[in-house]
Symmetry: C2
Subunit: 409 residues, 2 copies
Amino acid sequence: MSELSGPMDGIRVVDFSGYIAGPFCTQILGDMGADVIKVEPPKGEQWRVQDPFAKGFSKSFVSLNRNKRSIVLDLKQKADLDTALELIATADIVVHNYRPGVAERLGIGYDAVRAFNPNVIYAVNSAYGPNGPRAQQAGYDLVIQAVSGLIAANPRPDGKAPRRYAGIALIDFTAGQTLAIGVMSALIKRMRTGQGTRVESTLIEAALSLQRQKLVSIEAVDGKTQSKNPGTVLDRVQAWAGQMNDLVERELYYRTYETNDGYVTIGCLNVPQRRHFMDLLAIDDPWFENPDALPASPDEDQERRALTLAAESKFTQKSTAEWVSLFEGRDVPCAPVQMADDLMFDGQVTAGGYFIDFELPEFGQVRTMGNGLSFNGRPNGHLPPPSLGQHTAEILSELAAASDQTKRA
Amino acid sequence: MSELSGPMDGIRVVDFSGYIAGPFCTQILGDMGADVIKVEPPKGEQWRVQDPFAKGFSKSFVSLNRNKRSIVLDLKQKADLDTALELIATADIVVHNYRPGVAERLGIGYDAVRAFNPNVIYAVNSAYGPNGPRAQQAGYDLVIQAVSGLIAANPRPDGKAPRRYAGIALIDFTAGQTLAIGVMSALIKRMRTGQGTRVESTLIEAALSLQRQKLVSIEAVDGKTQSKNPGTVLDRVQAWAGQMNDLVERELYYRTYETNDGYVTIGCLNVPQRRHFMDLLAIDDPWFENPDALPASPDEDQERRALTLAAESKFTQKSTAEWVSLFEGRDVPCAPVQMADDLMFDGQVTAGGYFIDFELPEFGQVRTMGNGLSFNGRPNGHLPPPSLGQHTAEILSELAAASDQTKRA
């Protein structure tokens, strides 16, 4: 085999997933050259119809479904289920994100699939995995952010019920990448041993993974010697909100400041950077060598809060661009706070080539974010997201041709 | 080759990276069975010394560096650089996250490395990639959150300068996973074609990727026809904060509520779930079929805000556990807001087996979060994070033995 246009050329993925985690995983595989067949119910995947900009296409859908072909199958109809199983028989990888037990009831559980495709890679994303008290529950991103500690770690300054970050489905994206890693590991193993496997990622673990620096226990780990934390969650979250507010009111060096026309974010993580900061702001912070230490006295606390107020006031006297230029001149990590609306045509985004453009037939050109990777340059040539059932006839005729060939052989 | 204990058994990774993104990527590879050799400067990787709980081990370090061996090399010394190059010659994969140009100056740039290991996979994580006005800048997670639009999308209710989410280095983790996907793709390609490649992931693209549902342009994409958004970033972020506040004050169905002892998060995304919500709360919301629509009149706005206040007040009359039990009884997605401190010994986390425990010599047992994947069950047997230079002698003697063998052959 000579040069491949994509590392996964010729690998077939049959994808029953919807929403974010599963489709993001299979879009990554499609970007790498895999032949991803998206199996959709007659009504189409959920996001085709939710807030569409053209019939059957929403921004969410086009951002998660390029490099796939679409076939419509109603798995509750015997004939369509048979077609799905024929398709699965041709697959290297099968992906779904049904709730526990649903794939089995539909007739496409791991055991059923493995019976006629013994070395298949069977990839599942679920909320909690097969074990534990919450195993049977559906997982929505926001709910998993709550149960995993992420929301509690982000209290509101006013102590009110906390929200999730920037409206993004953070956990779904992390889980989608995790599943892609699992599928690729399984494929590497299969290329080396011939053996398939079942691989599962979970939303809860994706959320815990992001907090892994905090989620380390250096005490006895059998759970029995561990005493319960005292106080209600309400008391503890509100105490934490208060501590965070105190921290923010003393924070000088690693934070965002309001300017006269926007915001600038400064990241001073070491002493030389903090010296530049003091110099540019013309402030003198006696505690700059160890700014994360707690104040040694109420007086020190007051002085440090006053320093922060002084810095905040100075930042409002110049524009974001002026501050960025001053800090960049000292090689101190900093950036203007930018808005997503402006980013599609931002100089860095355009020069970096971070996006993937395609022509959506009957609509026009669409720009979406790429997969975040470059291999000796950026990849070219992408299938646009399919319309519902766009490839049904094509895929059925491929199956028929393959079946004829088997009969002749 | 028969069954492997890990899919990447026998694959060697030489890892020059530090902090989060690079070490997270190589820990994933180590978890999959790869032989990861962590090359550390004489002072050790940065996080060994920052906030340690034992000499040379911090929580951040142990959560990102299991399944690796450590060798100390001072790349500025000729003899040590030679050893690094010998080591690189034995590598399948080389990883670093130096700023642009640094690897080249050190003598381990892609061209230098490829000269004596032509089919190596050379993996780099950088802030912005090689092109564009910001290419030469260092990228700290917080700074990338600012420049990528994430921080502006998360305004504070009080309109003050926004913070990042839950104190987590969200972008670094996303970029680390992206790089692992890139390395695995490159390995799949090499197994099929024999050819190595250079693969690069960037922090900025990781941040944009998480916002991909929003970052879709359906207008002309050449950038020339695009008009600038009017107003300063300050005005626009504050307007957005106001809109978000309005939205939150009308939001009933997909949010977190304060209870009498904590918080509960409810995720009603469809009509049947919202009917259960109204029933359990004993409220009547005439707008439940389309709760995201803007109010049609100031009166409607007031009525909807009043409904939200009524729901908030009702939630404070029962405990979190009571509400969870009521909503679970209707199969409505919901969860208690939990704190990270409680999660290490949480029933679901323990039953799910989401963690990896190991014995740290001279310290004791440590529990860390796993990699979020299970393959026909959970993997067993893990190397603890290495002490600084723990394997220097072992790796040098392996190199010497290999060199003797080459001479004899």
